[in-house]
């Protein structure tokens, strides 16, 4: 991994801070219906992976498109690293924000290499620099350049198209990556694999990511923080663990399946609820162990199968904590927070 990082010829721009300040978006043809985005304020820290989630029509995609000015807010301001987004021409702003949509949105008449080279081309990079960059990115997303450079999108599987879409989005090292249900059209196995790779990419490159989905499972595996939206408003903006364990209201509770213990345990990361090991504690080699990243549910399975009192949790091979029945039970009892007035 470190080698691959060193192989990147251009450093990534520093991650962007996005501050959404009392933003309202009303569409012209709505009449006096409720706005698509209704007075939303939230701050996304530099390098944070934020997932916007909610049912269709909740305003999550609209909010995403307000960030790169595919839409302009009716009122309110979005600050990009402190600068109001309206102070730049939209096309200029978008060249510095990666944008990935379902199926990659690749240009069908361009080869893979030409697709990835679009933004460097708009930014006026020379051919040599762009060529080197394209090859690096294809390596990075797991498509050997020698084989894939000259292919057309029609020759790729859905998962491969999406990898090219991601490579295109990060080609010019943007500080922000906006993703609109990028894995929505993929089969479960490909989706799972790309989720892992995206997390890995985020760990390595560290740009800010805003990701839209309606799949709580996907949100829980990817997000540093999740913003749950409904009818244009953000109901709760918190870590996956807090959203699952302390849903702000009935709607959020339903979304995360708060009345289904198994479902919730399948969403919560073992790392989030495990008990730490005592300093100097000796682990017997016979004690069952399991490696991160893993959710609580498979740990519970192993606990029941092995009959052991606890399961050791390892990170990169080293024991970092353990889970026993008491801890799992604590993780399976959610509390709906008192209605706040936010």
């Amino acid at each position: 991994m470190a080698n691959q990082r060193a192989a990147l010829s251009t450093d990534f721009n520093t991650a962007t801070e996005i501050r959404i300040d009392h933003v309202v978006k009303r569409f012209d043809n709505d009449g006096d219906a409720r706005p698509a985005v209704n007075n939303v304020s939230l701050t996304i820290e530099p390098g944070e992976f934020v997932v916007l989630i909610g049912p269709s029509g909740c305003g999550k995609t609209t909010l995403l498109k307000l960030i790169n000015r595919l839409y302009d807010p009716t009122s309110g301001t979005i600050y990009i690293d402190g600068t109001p987004s309206q102070s730049l021409p939209g096309s200029e702003l978008r060249r510095h924000m990666g944008y990935v949509i379902q199926q990659g949105g690749l240009f069908p008449h361009y080869t893979v290499a030409e697709n990835v080279a679009v933004v460097p081309g708009l930014l006026g990079w020379d051919k040599a620099r762009t060529g080197v960059r394209v090859d690096e990115l294809l390596e990075l997303v797991g498509l050997p350049p020698a084989e894939y450079r000259t292919r057309y999108p029609a020759q790729l599987s859905g998962g491969q198209q999406q990898r090219v879409g991601i490579a295109r989005a990060i080609a010019a090292s943007p500080g922000t990556l906006l993703m609109d249900e990028p894995f929505g059209a993929l089969d479960a196995i490909t989706r799972g694999r790309l989720q892992v790779e995206l997390c890995d990419l985020h760990d390595r490159l560290g740009q800010t990511i805003v990701f839209v989905t309606h799949d709580i499972d996907e949100a829980a595996s990817l997000a540093d923080r999740i913003a749950v939206m409904r009818e244009g408003r953000v109901l709760q903006y918190d870590t996956a663990l807090n959203i699952i364990m302390r849903p702000a209201d009935e709607f959020v509770a339903n979304l995360v399946g708060a009345d289904d213990n198994m479902r919730r345990l399948s969403l919560v990361s073992a790392a989030a609820v495990m008990s730490p090991l005592e300093i100097g504690e000796v682990i017997a080699p016979v004690e069952p162990a399991i490696d991160l990243p893993i959710r609580v549910l498979p740990v519970l399975n192993q606990l029941l199968e092995s009959g052991a009192p606890r399961i050791i949790i390892r990170d990169a091979g080293a024991p970092v904590g353990y889970l026993d029945l008491a801890a799992i039970q604590a993780a399976s009892v959610p509390r709906i927070q008192a209605q706040s007035t936010s």
Partner: protein
Amino acid sequence: MSLDYLFRRWGRVWELTVEHITLSASAVLIALLLAVPLGVIAARNPRISTPLLGVLGAIYTIPSLAFLALLIPSLGIGRRPAIVVLAAYAQIFLVRNIAIGLRGVDLATMEAATGTGMTRWQQFIKVRWPLALPVMIAGLRTASVTTISLATIAAWIGAGGLGTLLFEGITRDDPDRILAGAIAITALALITDALLRLAVSMTAIARARRAGRA
């Protein structure tokens, strides 16, 4: 009826063929100059496109001899009025296909183009236009073949071309001339059709689709 005229007078047939090509090509080029902006406008404004295509369709239904005769008082006879009439007839095929082609480009692809930071002009030139090209060239193909066949009538007002052989054949009761003219016109139309089909298959998007099927 025999091919005698075609073989004995091939020099003259060739001369008239070149005249026919020049006449048709000028008409189609002039038609394109008008049709491209009209097609772009129609693609962007559905409100304009329906009445515009209605008018262009109506023009196409005017009988060609009547149309030519109508222009004699203002433009006289010869090539000029012929080109005007042919260019007017070609509009419906060109404008319709340009509008349909440009409007038919996938919305998600255009959104991706905006998302990469292309300006409106770059989106048009780099994405919308090349993706619409096969449909637009198909319109050009129909327009060109129609123009080649209609240009025959233009000989009636002295615009020259292969129609000359047909009118001569009728007035002199010489079926060989008619046959020679008909064969040359058909060949010209078929070759033009084939060349423009080839042009469609050479566009970037057609190549990409072929690669996808292979």
